[in-house]
Each structure stands twice: as C-alpha cells, then as structure tokens.
Symmetry: C2
Subunit: 228 residues, 2 copies
C-alpha cells in the first residue's frame, strides 16, 4: 500500500481530500498544524475525521505563525463578516496567513521523507479561494518542482507528487464527493470564529462558503450554528 | 532604507551573511528558529550576533521539526564524528533535517510580507554542504519562482529576492569576509553537540568545517573547545 501525507485542517475540503485519498487506496498519514489559530475547534475536528476515515496516523505539528503576524486568523484583526462572494473574490483577504501553504507543504514533505511517503494530498481550491495566491495550480506546480530539486527524496530520484483533487471543484461538488465517499460532515469544522462549544458563527467567509456548498449540493447542512 | 529578513542560526555562515546585508545597507530583521534542536547554544549565539551587528529586530519562531524526525539534529541519532571531507561529500548526512530550508525560507517570506521586506538573506553554501540538496543554487531559484507565484508580495508585483552571498564561497573565504566586515567570530557557534557551557566538541562535521575555515584563512580560531 502506497503511503501518503494528507494535510488535514478538519474542514470540509481537507476532510473530503482524506476520504478521496483513502478511496484511492493510500495508507494516509494525516497532518494538522497548531499554528497559533485563535481557536482549537478545527484541531478537534481533524482528530475526529482522521479517526472516522481510518487514517494510519495523525500528527499535529506546532509552528508559531503568530510570530509572523499579519492575519486575522492568528492576530487580533477582525474576521470579516457577511461578505458577498464578489467581495471575497476581489482581494487577498485578511484571513490569508502569509506563506502558510508553503510552510505547511514543506512540513508535509519533510514528514513524507521520514515516513517514506511520496504522495502529498492537499485540499486547496482555486475557485472558492481565488483570492489566495497559494491556492492556484501554478503555485502547486512550482512547489512540486522545488521539492524535486531540494528534497532528499527528489535528489534520490523519488520526487513527491502533490495531489490536489479539489482544485477545480465547486464547494457543492466537494460536498457531493464527500457524501458519496461516506464522509460525515457533522464531524468537520469550518468557522473562523466559533464559540467555546465549537458552534459556527454563520457569517464569516468560511461559514458562508460552507453553507452555500450544502445548499447547492441539495444536502442538509449538519453544521451547529450558535444562536443569533 | 530597504528592509531584509536575514536567517540567522548564529553560526559562521549566517552571521557573515548578516554582516554582508548590513554592509550593503539593508535594515535587517534577523530570524532564528527553535525547531527542536538538541541544544540552545546556537540560539544564544544568534542573539549575541544580532545585537553586535545592529539588526533592527531579532525574532525566534518555534516550529517543532521533532514531529517530523529523521535527523541527528533533532532525534536521538548519533551525530557523526571525525569524518573526512570526502566522507561528508559522499552522501546526504544524518544531520540533514528533511525540508528544513524550505520551511525556514517560507517562514522568512511570511515575515517579509508582514514587515514589507522584499529581500531574504540566506547563508546556504553549495561547497562545504554539497551533500544537502537544499543548499544548491537550482533549489534557491526554484523557491524564488515559487514565492513569486504563491505569495501576496509576488501576486502584487513585488516578488521576493533571495540573496545567497556565500553560495559559491569556501569556508576560508567566508571567514575572511566576516573578519573584513568586523564580525567577532567568538560570538558565533557551530558545533552540533556542544557541552552545557556551549563549548564545541571539535569532532562533528560542523566543527571540522569551521576549524578548517579558520586554518585556511590563516586566522586564529576563537572557538572554545571542551577538554578532550
């Protein structure tokens, strides 16, 4: 069984990616990050999802992106609320964490070297997250080339392959794919600003995209929202 | 004054790079990492060097590479001792930390975005560290391309430039350059396995390369070695 490292935030996208990688027959080593996010609800979700989908292992690596700052996900910057999709697409949002995806992929590749895994799975999406420069296919290709040159695995002729099965899918397609593979979305978490019980705000970009995904997929939304 | 982020481990190479970046007129923000290395002597050295060379700031970011494993620098794997240069050049050493340089550069770029710095300085060297795939010029070029595509700075038309002034220099040339710029090498630390007082072992690859550098440069070696 080929090994893969799967980046798992515990949201809809990365959880669906784990389901896909498992369905493709990979032994999946899930990897999450404690990077200074303002809440731990997503890490608890990642644990639930990894267990439910039969990941071979699940690790959480601490990397303190608060020391870098510059993002509403790690700093005391307001998370935007009730934005339209057009507004989201217009600019790089304040929830963008500088160079986060490159940091995460590099750590995944490092773990891949240690585990002898040559496949990295990533839930990036170029449609709903079009404002993030590090979610575009050209970026993923550039990282793959960089790893082929700069990793031990690459130098030894066993370069990493980065799988991004969701990159051109809409949220509705992602939700349908996850359902098809038996993923229980009630285990996942998306909200940028949940309350202490992990209930979603319903108004941040991530909640809006998630809700829209369930609506368009024609699937009941299992998200626990807090009272308005 | 243009801003730069300078990766600073506190060794001979990165300290010389900081001296070069300062001499070139950059306002330098030094960046070190607490990545699970087995000793803190190099972080103390980095602090001393940053202060002595007038860095504008010095940050240490925690990123737990022990969770990845696979290296003698973070795990309970023996650090090789008394190796010849030929032996060092022959293979990727066990002191290689999987994908460490890519993780570090990505974090430096993230900090650069937040600080508005478009220059990254790195002490990689393709001669003495020829066994490390992530010290080669092709790797640095690939990372620069990746950041141009995947960072906010790059997307906004202000791509990062990665400076590697030492990449083709011998250790002797690096030592001479540092001396020329007034760097006090007694402040720096290189040993992979120092004792509790920070004194060097004199036998690990890093000590051997350092000692050879001072000898070939014809400069007195200020390193404090422990008793044999």
């Amino acid at each position: 069984m080929e090994r893969a490292v799967v980046l798992l935030s515990g949201g809809v996208d990365s959880s669906t990616v784990l389901a896909i990688a498992r369905a493709e027959g990979f032994a999946c080593h899930a990897l999450s990050f404690r990077y200074g996010q303002r809440h731990m609800a997503e890490l608890r979700a990642a644990e639930r999802v990894a267990a439910a989908l039969g990941a071979s292992s699940h690790r959480t690596i601490a990397v303190d992106l608060r020391a870098i700052g510059g993002s509403a996900l790690t700093d005391a910057i307001d998370v935007p609320k009730d934005r339209t999709l057009a507004a989201m697409a217009q600019e790089i949002p304040v929830t963008y964490v500088p160079c986060r995806n490159l940091v995460f992929i590099a750590l995944a590749a490092g773990l891949g070297e240690t585990l002898g895994a040559r496949h990295l799975f990533l839930g990036v999406n170029a449609i709903d997250y079009s404002g993030y420069p590090d979610c575009r296919p050209e970026f993923i290709e550039a990282v793959e080339r960089t790893l082929a040159i700069g990793s031990k695995a690459g130098a030894e002729g066993r370069p990493f392959r980065i799988h991004t099965p969701l990159i051109h899918m809409t949220k509705a397609q992602i939700v349908r794919k996850g359902m098809e593979l038996g993923l229980d979305f009630a285990l996942t978490h998306s909200c940028y600003e949940p309350d202490a019980e992990g209930r979603a705000c319903g108004a941040c970009d991530s909640c809006i995209l998630r809700r829209k995904g369930f609506e368009e997929a024609g699937v009941a939304d299992p998200t626990r929202y807090r009272e308005p």
